[in-house]
Amino acid sequence: MALNIMQLATMFADKNPGITSGHRLCPGCAAPNVAKFALMTAQSLGYTPVVGLATGCLEVSTTIFPFTAWNVPYIHNAFENVAATVSGVETAFRALSKKGRLVDPEKKYAFFAFGGDGGTYDIGLQSLSGAVERGHKFIYIVYDNEGYMNTGNQRSGATPPGSQTTTQPVGKKLPGKIQLKKNIVEIMAGHENVYVATVSTSEPMDFFKKIEKALQFDGPSFIAAFSPCVRFWRVNDDKAVDISKLAIETGYWPLYEVERGVYRITKKVKELKPVVEFIKAQGRFRDLLKRPDAQEIIDELQEYVNRRWERLQILEEATKDKPIR
């Protein structure tokens, strides 16, 4: 079964591929579309998704008892353990399959775990690393909105330098967060026998293809989805896609994949736009821009983005046709 764009477009319009409308996420939030893109791809390829969620925006806003926005099997356990929880579900699937106790053994099951950047880069990293190391066949998707947005914009390991947050605010003395965003993609690519990719809802075909690849990959997959939070990135609620495009065009969020150690850039940007365009487009950097040391911080980020982009191209060339296993 191959990806059929017309079928996917119809599914998207149906509003019902796994996650339904009626949830209480903010208008313009990218997270539900991240879930929707993944689940509709799985369903269009004949898979039956089973979903786990880490505590976070996508979880609290979709399952306020007695309502649920999920019309597929769904489990939320806690904040830091969605990977371990889904590893238990996936293992139960194998055990029941072996013992002939599955309700519907004919179906093709696909196990998904969704977590925000807080539940992935920070508190859930151990659980995620353990589950991937053990080789469970599941797809972990981080919807990365670069902070603890569910609880009102606190700093995470995914927050970029200079972004206004409530726990590392830009103040009179301190410039807010000075550390770069943790490179979660490289951390996950450092595990063995794993498929890792970055995606963005502004590039749907690239997104669908990577989910397809993850579904077909014989092992765990990790997908990092750029997921603007219109509320705390201080942009209009119709801007999630525009900001995502800018992130890709500036090289801030390069679209690439690493399959068993083989790097491939899936969206080649001929000439990167300056990162400052991405920064200036969002209110969360407004306070940074007012500071005298703003240029210093932006330059450092620009330098990092340039070097990373260069490095990715070198890695793509060096690892071509040389899977590590």
């Binding site: 007695p66 489990i75 356990n77 238990g88 139960a92």
Partner: protein, 392 residues
């Protein structure tokens, strides 16, 4: 009395691992921690040798062990784990979630002192920290009971009227590593006793999708907690039913309380776990000297056997409660519960609290005698906590 066919000298850890082999759970997720480690090691060997067809998840922490068994049990699998001390403390958050999700997970706990300072030996501080988590707590005196209660726990937790997880407590090192004679049941007998798992709302029934772990706010949360409280009320009745069935296949009798020489006893000691064995021995010695003493050992600590204790303690001269954990700034947990149970009895006995054995400190016959002798002369103060085997 059924015939004993398989009597072996084993450690408590081996006995529990053998119970797990006979149960043949669908999923076991576990992380090694002293003194639970041999349970995981023996079981892993069964998996490696194909003696069970369990899928084992060698997780990277106890937090993930409990998380994974929650996922597996919700999916529709019979799931088990085991732990001790700091491992149980690391699971703590998910221990509550397992109970509130009404997942009948069975977890043997090799009771060990909770750090700090770090100590690997027996006390009950680990299990006591989980006493309000919504888990059923069973307590074993020896390897035989650890084996038997693990089998009983499975049936109890999965019962339609209960649907709660069960902790089987067995004293670290004393039971886990001590070698004792254990009578094992035949594999086929156990298989029949545990039966097929009774699954409710499995996640993997994809045509009937369910949402596990929703956000439950002030408009429903309280009612859900009330349901958990209600489920606990059924535990003692169901335990008795299951124990009766177990007696038929094993000849071994279990109840809410283990009562030793209590019929005419004027002085009753109450304790959990392996120390009960030493107390039974001391009771025999004191009986030879003409003292009317006895022991009550709760096999179930959660739900707390309040009614049963009220019935048995009413009218006695004195009750001595031994706790293997402290509650800093309050009364020790077992004592506090017993004392509270006695509030409404007609003829209140004199009562005293003794804390002993923290961090694996040995408890000896002389210590138990000392506590009984305090009772004989009426030297008990209900508001005073005393310590056995401690250098002051």
């Amino acid at each position: 009395m059924p015939e004993v066919k398989n009597r072996q000298a084993v450690t408590g850890a081996q006995a529990i691992a053998n119970a797990m082999r006979q149960i043949n759970p669908d999923v076991v997720a576990a992380y090694p921690i002293t003194p639970q480690t041999p349970v995981v090691e023996y079981f892993a060997q069964y998996v490696a040798d194909g003696a069970v067809d369990t899928e084992m998840i060698p997780v990277e922490s106890e937090h993930s062990a409990m998380s994974a068994v929650v996922g597996a049990a919700a999916a529709g699998a019979r799931a088990m784990t085991a732990t001790a001390a700091n491992g149980l403390a690391l699971m703590h958050e998910i221990v509550y979630i397992a109970a509130s999700s009404r997942l009948p997970i069975v977890m043997p706990v090799a009771n060990r002192a909770l750090s700090g300072p770090i100590n690997i030996h027996c006390d009950h501080s680990d299990a006591m920290a989980e006493r309000d988590s919504g888990w059923i707590q069973l307590w074993a005196e020896n390897a035989q009971e650890a084996y038997d209660l693990t089998l009983i726990a499975l049936r109890l937790g999965e019962h339609e009227d209960v649907r709660l997880p069960v902790m089987v407590n067995f004293d670290g090192f004393i039971i886990s590593h001590g070698v004792e004679v254990v009578d094992f049941l035949d594999d086929e007998v156990v298989k029949k006793f545990v039966g097929e798992p009774k699954v409710k709302y499995p996640l993997l029934d994809v045509d009937n999708p369910v949402t596990y772990g929703p956000l439950d706010l002030y408009d429903y949360y309280f009612e859900h907690k009330r349901q958990q409280i209600e489920a606990m009320k059924h535990v003692k009745r169901v335990f008795k039913e299951v124990a009766e069935e177990f007696e038929k296949i094993s000849g071994r009798k279990y109840d809410v309380l283990d009562k030793y020489m209590v019929d005419d006893a004027e002085y009753i000691m109450i304790a959990l776990g392996s120390t009960a064995g030493t107390i039974k021995y001391t009771v025999d010695l004191l009986r030879e000297q003409g003292h009317k003493v006895g022991l009550v050992k709760p096999w179930i600590f959660r739900p707390f056997p309040k009614k049963e204790l009220q019935e048995i303690l009413n009218g006695r001269k004195a009750v001595v409660v031994l706790d293997r954990s402290a509650s800093f700034g309050a009364e020790a947990p077992l004592y506090e519960a017993v004392k509270s149970a006695l509030f409404n009895v007609e003829n209140k006995p004199l009562i005293g609290s003794y804390v002993y054995g923290l961090g694996g400190r040995d408890i000896k016959v002389e210590h138990i005698k000392q506590a009984f002798e305090d009772a004989f002369v009426g030297n008990l103060n209900p508001d005073e906590e005393r310590y056995l085997g401690l250098r002051e």
